[in-house]
């Protein structure tokens, strides 16, 4: 009996060690945004985040942490789970406290405003709904993950506790799995998150009509007792860990807001009432009135529902506004200088240093709607689109693999970064400027609805494989009116 017991214990330890090793290396991968966002907590140096945002896909699409960082100098990250509820947010906050001591926790309030019954009553008979527990799989196996898995899945906890079980069939698509493993080992979660593709599509006109005809319900929008219970729990964490709580609301499409204004006000008033006794809690509302969030701020998603997301025009405006608010409201938050890691850090006025290689890009701008190429090019909105083409390169780097960005900057509150550039024909360019210009050309067609009225500067940025940045103001300006 003793022999069996001894061997069982030793074998179990070896087995668990192997399982945890495999789980970490091959199954807890930064491939899904919701997993990656949680992993950014563990990936970053300890105590490096001053602000952590929590919320749903509205947060993922609505707030750009790179802009917050660029404008405030404050390290921050976003943890989001698709359609998450406040119960999951509570466990996500606990997870963040394992690695960091944030001074400010920001909660995006869509989970409170969501008309989904899942969000209002996510806890029944002591069990949380398993529908929206996506952030669970980004967490490192530990007590917090175990508790969340248990309250969500009960006896199926082991299956959800280790990603090896839940994602055990990754081998079915080896190519994707290998790519995910490579990406996970090479890039930090923060890099993957901050550099995620930006969305520049706009809600279709025909969908606008569908939205107008769709009837959204008000009666499901309220602050439920379950939500209040978890607000209390989060509040207790705030008191214990000495952080401030800020509730923000990423705007949604005006058609939805206008129909559900009653429910919105109900939740807003209840939330205002709830935070009254607590000086560490605040609510932030965007200055943009809901009726201004027209189709040009919204992604063109397939379904017509309450769950609309901002495109990068909306994200940029909201993030810039929120960054200014945070700077003003929380001056005590630590601002960190360091070498820039993201394109945004070159565009906004930041306390960060500029790179040494400023103006090191050789560029040539060929075409901006009006071929006359004056220093200030007037673009009429009746043109519908802005067509821009040109080339830029740097002699010191491999231009073929370098990432290229074209930026249209209006001011420190609005700049759009375009990263998916169409590779232009470079034969003419190389003839004129030499072989070094190969792989340097680009062209981009931009919907004018994405741009606010005003004067824009055009900036070219190159990011080398070694993650060094080279950028240059082209000197050309456009005026949209």
């Amino acid at each position: 009996m003793k022999q069996l017991l001894f061997k069982t214990v030793i074998f179990s330890i070896i087995f668990l060690l192997l399982l945890f090793f495999i789980d970490k290396k091959y199954y807890r991968l930064k491939n899904e945004p919701f997993i990656n966002s949680v992993m950014s907590l563990e990936d970053a140096p300890k105590d490096s985040y001053e602000i952590v945002f929590f919320g749903s896909s509205h947060l993922y699409r609505g707030i750009e942490p790179a802009i917050i960082k660029a404008k405030t100098g404050i390290n921050n990250t976003v943890v989001h789970g698709g359609g998450t509820h406040l119960g999951n947010v509570y466990y996500d906050i606990i997870e963040s406290l394992k690695y960091h001591s944030p001074k400010l926790i920001v909660i995006e309030t869509w989970p409170l405003y969501s008309p989904s019954p899942i969000n209002n009553n996510f806890l029944k008979d002591g069990k949380m709904t398993p529908v929206k527990a996506s952030t669970l799989y980004g967490k490192k196996p530990g007590f917090n993950k175990l508790e969340q898995a248990f309250i969500t899945y009960g006896k199926e906890t082991p299956y959800h506790f280790l990603n090896t079980f839940i994602f055990h069939e990754n081998w079915k698509n080896l190519t994707k799995w290998k790519k995910d493993i490579d990406q996970s080992s090479k890039l930090t979660a923060e890099e993957i998150y901050y550099k995620r593709p930006k969305k520049y599509d706009i809600l279709d006109i025909d969908k606008v009509e569908k939205y107008t005809n769709f009837k959204f319900k008000n009666n499901q929008i309220y602050l439920s007792s379950t939500e209040k219970t978890y607000l209390d729990k989060i509040n207790k964490l705030a008191q214990k860990n000495n952080f401030s709580l800020l509730f923000i609301t990423v705007p949604v499409y005006k058609e939805y807001t206008s129909q559900t204004v009653e429910g919105y006000r109900r939740v807003q008033n209840e939330l205002k009432e709830y935070i009254k006794p607590y000086p560490n809690m605040s609510i932030w509302s965007s200055k943009i009135t809901p009726e201004n969030i027209d189709r040009t701020y919204i992604i063109n998603e397939r379904k017509i529902n309450s769950n609309q997301h901002l495109n990068n025009k909306g994200t940029t405006i909201i993030s810039c506004e929120l960054a200014d608010y945070i700077l003003e409201k929380y001056p005590q938050l630590e601002k960190k200088n360091g070498s820039p890691k993201f394109v945004e850090e070159f565009i906004y006025k930041t306390p960060n240093q500029k790179p040494d290689d400023l103006n090191s890009v050789v560029h040539k701008l060929n075409y901006i709607n009006d071929p006359s190429k004056n220093d200030l090019i007037y673009i009429d909105r009746s043109d519908k689109v802005l067509k821009i083409s040109g080339c830029f390169f740097n002699k010191k780097i491999d231009n073929k693999s370098a990432k290229k960005f074209v930026i249209l900057k209006r001011d420190d509150n609005f700049a759009l970064i375009f990263d998916r550039l169409f590779k232009g024909d470079y034969t003419r360019v190389t003839k004129e400027f030499g072989e070094a210009f190969s792989h340097s050309t680009y062209s981009k067609t931009i919907d004018l609805d994405l741009l606010l009225d005003g004067n824009y500067e055009i900036i070219h940025v190159l990011e080398s494989n070694e993650k060094k940045y080279f950028y240059e103001y082209t000197g050309y300006k456009i005026k949209i009116e």
Partner: protein
């Protein structure tokens, strides 16, 4: 509670530990086994417990009463009561709707219409297995081959013994019941081999059977959407699915029982290495085929009443065996095919031995018999079509398409292998099937477990870890109905 479920993963270690705590006190141990077995069975549906309890009570008292009397008529009457009760329950739960439907269809054949509604009957899991097990008890007492037990708890525990309760092996009272009266000593090697057998069973079930099921279900459930090549592949995969599913269950059952000191009979012995159909039935579902031999074939006269009766008995046994598997004409045809081929084999036996005794053929080494293996495998696969198809019509469609529509060119087409799953799944599945066959060949020749036991500990443990990790990574977890063992429905 499925063997491949989290419930069992929690249930079994607890039972194992508690069992060895109470193991020395036989009565307490048997009572404990009875409680956990009833809990195990009741986890499907607590109402099933009344059936198994009723069956056990009746057979326990019939056994006792039968032993007290020497009067042949009374003994016969008691046996008939047991048979009627047990087979009556089996017939009611398993065959009522089949008879109603067949009755209506027969009338339809003759142009009449008959309105009849089928009954909403839930088939109690494993009823075919424990009914046969408990029947063997009363029949053996009737034949004076077994002394009835006076210990009701031991008998109840024997009938409901959880490792083999729902899908066998169908144990004989003469083999298993005495083990309930013996003290079981904690034997490290026995426990280790039991656990290894359980792991091997889980591997067969989760890695091979349930993966193959994806392809097989897709093809067999959508007969009109596929070509002859896909049918042929699906049928071959089904052959391995059903083998790995059922023998996997048996391995887990035998292994679980072994960890508690019980020895259950071997149920499979590499059936696809059979060199004749007779050989196949010596290797496939041994506990059932020997049950039919002892309690149906021999009482019918076996092979002692002339050739005609021998062939007829064989045919009857296999048709009944098919009917035992399921209340559908497909199972009856499946049994009949086996019966007919076995009859032919028996009829050709004198011719075959004459040819084999020819001086030239005598020089051919015995191992050349392996050449029969693919032929027997094909025959078995042919019969499996009826076993798996959703109706006789579908079975004929699959067989005719497999013959007329089988194209070599389809084998070069990746889409042939990716029905319901990816090409990686197909590669992994076929690789594991090959590995299984190699492992069985080695096991049959050298004894895999004994080779393993002789190895240095790090090698053994590495292999154990590989098996467990293979199940975790390549296994199909499924849930509910999808993960059930095929033989649960019988």
């Amino acid at each position: 509670m499925l063997f491949n479920s989290i419930d069992f993963a929690i249930f079994f270690p607890i039972v194992f530990i508690l069992y060895w705590i109470v193991a020395k006190k036989i009565k307490l141990r048997n009572f404990f086994l009875l409680v956990v077995s009833y809990y195990f069975y009741g986890s499907w549906d607590w109402r099933f417990l009344f059936l198994i309890a009723a069956s056990s009570i009746l057979d326990f008292y019939i056994g006792k009463t039968m032993a007290k009397t020497e009067v042949k008529k009374k003994r016969k009457l008691l046996l008939i009561i047991s048979l009627v009760f047990n087979l009556g329950l089996l017939c009611y739960f398993k065959y009522t709707n089949f008879f109603i439907e067949s009755f209506v269809n027969t009338f339809r054949l003759f142009g009449s219409t008959l309105e009849a509604t089928t009954l909403q009957i839930i088939l109690p899991v494993g009823i075919s297995f424990y009914t046969f097990q408990t029947l063997s008890y009363t029949i053996d007492i009737y034949r004076n081959k077994l002394e009835p037990t006076k210990d009701a708890i031991a008998f109840f525990a024997f009938v409901s013994f959880f490792p083999q309760l729902v899908a066998g092996p169908i144990e004989r009272a003469s083999h298993l019941l005495p083990q309930f009266f013996k003290t079981h000593k904690f034997n490290y090697n026995q426990i280790r081999s039991g656990l290894l057998l359980m792991a091997f069973g889980l591997f067969k079930k989760m890695v091979i059977a349930d993966r193959a099921a994806i392809y097989v279900n897709e093809v067999y459930n959508n007969v009109d959407d596929h070509n002859g090549t896909s049918y042929a592949i699906a049928t071959v995969l089904f052959a391995f699915q059903i083998y790995c599913d059922f023998s996997g269950y048996s391995d887990i059952a035998i292994g679980a029982a072994r960890t508690m000191g019980f020895d259950l009979m071997k149920n499979f012995k590499s059936p696809y290495f059979a060199v004749s159909l007779t050989d196949f039935w010596r290797r496939w579902h041994i506990s059932l085929s020997t049950w039919f031999r002892d309690y149906v074939y021999i009482p019918l006269g076996g092979s002692k009443k002339g050739n005609f009766r021998t062939y007829a008995n064989l045919f009857i046994v296999f048709v009944v065996s098919g009917f035992w598997h399921g209340a559908a004409w497909t199972f009856i045809i499946w049994g009949a095919i086996h019966g007919v081929i076995l009859m032919s084999e028996k009829a050709l036996l004198p011719v075959k031995s004459k040819i084999a005794n020819h001086s030239l053929l005598k020089q051919i080494p015995k191992w050349c018999n392996v050449l029969y293996i693919p032929l027997i495998f094909m025959i078995v696969c042919f019969a499996w079509v009826f076993f798996r198809a959703n109706g006789v019509q579908n079975a004929f469609t699959i067989i005719s398409s497999s013959i007329t529509d089988f194209k070599i060119s389809d084998l070069k087409n990746i889409e042939t292998y990716t029905i319901g799953f990816t090409i990686n799944e197909f590669i992994v599945l076929t690789s594991f099937i090959c590995l299984l066959l190699i492992a069985e060949a080695i096991h049959n020749t050298f004894g895999l477990f004994s080779i393993l036991q002789k190895q240095f500990l790090p090698i053994r443990w590495t292999l154990y870890l590989v098996i467990v990790m293979t199940i975790i990574i390549f296994g199909v977890y499924g849930d509910g109905k999808d993960a059930e063992f095929i033989y649960f429905q019988f």
